[in-house]
């Protein structure tokens, strides 16, 4: 008996789902996020475009003025998206979707399409204004009509959505339930996306074969850059540009088709349930090898070990490792390209990027923590937070140290004999790690102060979203303020003449000690503060 109800299928279903998800998404907090996010993105574009324009002038690898630079920027964006794919981020869904949408008679494929479309729409909403800002700026720079920025922006948006689809493909391909045939496809896919993402960056290395340049131009980033830059450069739609557009659409179609092919039967694996308050989440799998041995170990060793085990089993470590591999590749390529030698400022900027690498993961710590257990024991919460921090910072530093060394050693060798610049570079290397340590400490502090715990039953979802906005803003501003003295000491060290008239070695040691002392003090304050907030907050 269907009681006269009509069963929708295909696009009507997809439209209903999108409307339902849109209504749930457009909240005051979401709009605030959008405005702040757009603001940050525009600021970043303003800064980044200046750098890229200068950069592409220096490395005129391709014929177009900033064609290569944009291709590089897009490659970076693609890598960022793919990292989330490798981390298993997938497409976010709520547990309400699981309970009410997945149990409805809607075809799974319709849900998948609706989810891809809604995520793409969010990307478009978020990306279009900054993209337009970039292209309008370039159009003005080249003296082209401002209207040319629109198709240029659309081409780039298509590229971003392609990145999202590829990210979903990667997550899907990494799922364990693939058959042997699909596993071959998976390996081909992973190899392809690695080539697609990293190839444009390799061109930075002087002396790369010209053939690579040609290949780069038919990759999605190269095609998008060619279309967008040509248009804002004042070019008309030539046959070459039309061919580029067709090829870009073909790439998109291929990625989408691949996703559909792999999603057949088990597409749910690409969707990731966002745990709500009190939702401890379900995990698949039966017995696993025990990793937490407690005999003969102190309480604090167990706390650290527990944190490592949780990071390992929740794939956090895999995400960190994949991201660090990408980061290392960039750093080595940049180093080989000689860009750091030519610009100490960019070197400092890159070191800051290395340093800020781990701050994001600290925020997620609280969601995996079960603080009601700790709060009902007599354990010292300040010490507990310090030990958790220790467990989390150790693998990060182990990963960042070789990256920093890969960047720094050639620079140090190249500056032997130049006392000022050499001291600046030498001090910058530990400073990158200090910045990482402070940023992670800040992440833990702000998570403790504003984060949502698994047992939060006081704040509503919307109130929590607003709190997240506040946390993001405070964390960004305060973290920047906290690391600025460390960066300032590096700049001070790079000055040709020491501020204090002492031998260079002593001067360097003083600056290093000052920097380490400052980092220690800041970390102590941040972590003690985090412990105090956990104790004080009643909603955890």
């Amino acid at each position: 008996m269907d009681g006269g109800r009509t069963r929708l299928a295909g696009w009507p279903n997809i439209a209903v789902l999108m409307r339902y998800w849109l209504k749930g998404r457009i909240t005051r907090a979401a709009l605030l996020w959008l405005v702040f996010g757009e603001g940050f993105a525009i600021l970043f574009i303003a800064f980044g475009s200046q750098t890229f324009l200068a950069f592409s002038s220096k490395f005129g690898v391709t014929g177009g003025f900033s064609n290569f630079a944009l291709s590089l920027l897009l490659a970076f964006l693609l890598i960022g998206l793919l990292q989330s794919g490798f981390s298993g981020s997938g497409l976010p869904i709520t547990s309400a979707d699981v309970d009410y949408v997945f149990t409805s008679p809607v075809r799974p494929r319709d849900i998948f399409v609706a989810k891809v479309l809604i995520t793409s729409l969010a990307t478009i909403l978020f990306s279009f204004p900054p993209m337009m800002f970039l292209y309008i700026r370039l159009a003005v720079f080249y003296g082209a009509p401002v209207a040319a920025a629109v198709p240029a922006g659309l081409a780039t948006l298509l590229f971003l959505v392609l990145g999202l689809v590829l990210s979903a493909d990667v997550t899907l391909s990494l799922s364990s339930s693939l058959g042997p045939r699909l596993k071959v496809l998976r390996n081909v896919l992973i190899f392809s996306v690695a080539v697609i993402s990293i190839l444009p960056v390799i061109l930075l290395i002087p002396g790369t074969p010209p053939a690579l340049d040609v290949i780069t131009q038919i990759l999605p980033s190269g095609l998008t850059a060619d279309i967008s830059i040509s248009l804002v450069n004042g070019s008309q739609w030539t046959a070459g540009l039309i061919l580029d557009a067709i090829l870009l659409i073909a790439w998109f179609a291929a990625a989408l088709a691949l996703g559909f092919r792999m999603s057949r039967g088990h597409f749910y694996e690409v969707l990731q349930v966002v745990a709500g308050p009190g939702d401890s989440g379900a995990m698949s799998g039966g017995r696993v090898a025990p990793l937490l041995e407690t005999s003969g170990k102190s309480v604090w060793e167990i706390v650290r070990r527990k944190e490592v085990v949780v990071m390992r089993r929740t794939k956090e470590r895999r995400g960190l490792l994949i991201s660090s591999i990408f980061l290392s590749a960039f750093m080595v390529i940049y180093s080989l390209a000689g860009s750091f030698q030519s610009s100490p400022t960019s070197f400092l900027f890159i070191l800051f990027l290395i340093g800020s690498f781990g701050s994001g993961s600290a925020g997620g710590w609280l969601e995996k923590e079960r603080l009601w257990i700790m709060k009902t024991t007599s354990i010292d919460l300040r010490k507990y937070v310090r030990e958790v921090y220790r467990a989390r910072i150790t693998p990060l530093l182990l990963i960042l140290t070789p990256v920093t060394a890969a960047v720094g050693v050639p620079l140090v060798l190249g500056r032997l004999g130049q006392s000022g610049p050499l001291l600046g570079v030498v001090l910058a290397l530990p400073s990158a790690l200090e910045v990482a340590a402070i940023m992670m400490g800040g992440g833990i502090y702000f998570a403790s102060r504003y984060g949502q715990s698994a047992t939060d039953d006081i704040l509503t979802t919307q109130a929590q979203q607003l709190t997240d906005v506040k946390r993001f803003l405070y964390q960004t501003i305060v973290n920047l303020a906290l690391v600025s003295p460390v960066m300032g000491l590096v700049l001070l060290a790079a000055q040709p003449d020491p501020v204090v008239p002492v031998p260079l070695f002593v001067y360097g040691a003083i600056l290093l000690l000052a920097s380490l002392g400052y980092t220690y003090m800041v970390l102590k304050r941040l972590l003690d503060g985090a412990g105090d907030w956990i104790m004080r907050r009643e909603d955890l």
């Binding site: 401890s280 379900a282 799998g285 025990p290 937490l292 407690t294 527990k306 089993r313 995996k368």
Partner: protein, 244 residues
């Protein structure tokens, strides 16, 4: 074994009064059932006793230790099961229990024996190496109950321990709670299952809108409610909370 003493306990959230001058005593070795409508203040009361919430006014002592002034001493004596216990889903059952035991200060040898015995009692031996996140709700509840007793607490605070459990697990947990009273543990139990309270609690406390409405054995409550001599607890409860 210790008892719980609550004196003029008040908890407010802005203008909302969650608990209003609640006074209550649970003697050592007593099993006391705390019942009341949703939002009456039961969980708030329990969270203050275990140290998660701070009282706005009033005092709570566990075996003579003030939970605000001597939180560490009080917490060492308490085992707590929250209404919705969220556990570390990425740890195995055995790892989780070892972790909790260690932070509760249980020695290595004693901890291994205790975990082994408890897994046997709760029929979870074959789940020792399974991830907590892969367990059913009932199994997770059992793991949380084991975790609450690893350190041999004098006082057990159990907030809705039977919620969403299947009948078989409910019977098991009921029996386990009764056994805890028999071995001399002080148990403060919040539940909507009036049968277990009527049959096994030595005393019943009815709480409504943040205040204690009535306290005593079933006979006392019948008299307070002006109910018949054979009235069941649910009838008495409804009369006292004015819901009929």
């Amino acid at each position: 074994m210790g008892g719980i003493s609550i004196d003029k306990l008040t908890k407010t959230y802005g203008n909302l009064v969650a608990l209003d001058k609640v006074s209550l005593r649970v003697d050592a070795g007593e099993v006391v059932g705390l019942i009341g409508p949703n939002g009456a203040g039961k969980s708030t009361l329990m969270k203050i006793v275990v140290g998660i919430l701070r009282p706005t006014n009033g005092t709570v002592t566990v075996s003579g230790h003030d939970v605000v002034k001597e939180p560490e001493a009080a917490k060492e004596l308490i085992g707590y099961l929250p209404e919705n216990p969220s556990l570390y889903t990425a740890l195995t059952v055995s790892e989780f229990l070892k972790f909790v035991g260690k932070i509760r200060g249980v020695g290595d040898g004693e901890l291994d024996v205790k975990i082994s015995e408890s897994l046997n009692t709760f029929t979870l031996v074959d789940k020792a190496d399974s991830l907590v996140g892969s367990l059913s709700k009932g199994m997770k509840q059992k793991v949380a109950l084991i975790a609450a007793t690893l350190h041999d607490p004098e006082v057990l605070i159990l907030d809705e321990p039977l919620t969403a459990l299947d009948p078989k697990t409910q019977v098991f947990v009921n029996r386990w709670i009764i056994s805890q009273g028999k071995i001399g543990r002080t148990v403060l139990l919040s539940t909507h299952n009036l049968e277990i309270v009527q049959d096994y609690a030595s005393r019943i406390v009815i709480i409504d809108k943040g205040t204690v409405v009535a306290t005593g054995g079933l006979e006392t409550l019948r008299k307070l409610a002006d109910a018949k001599g054979d009235a069941r607890l649910d009838e008495v409860f409804l009369k006292l909370t004015e819901e009929i």
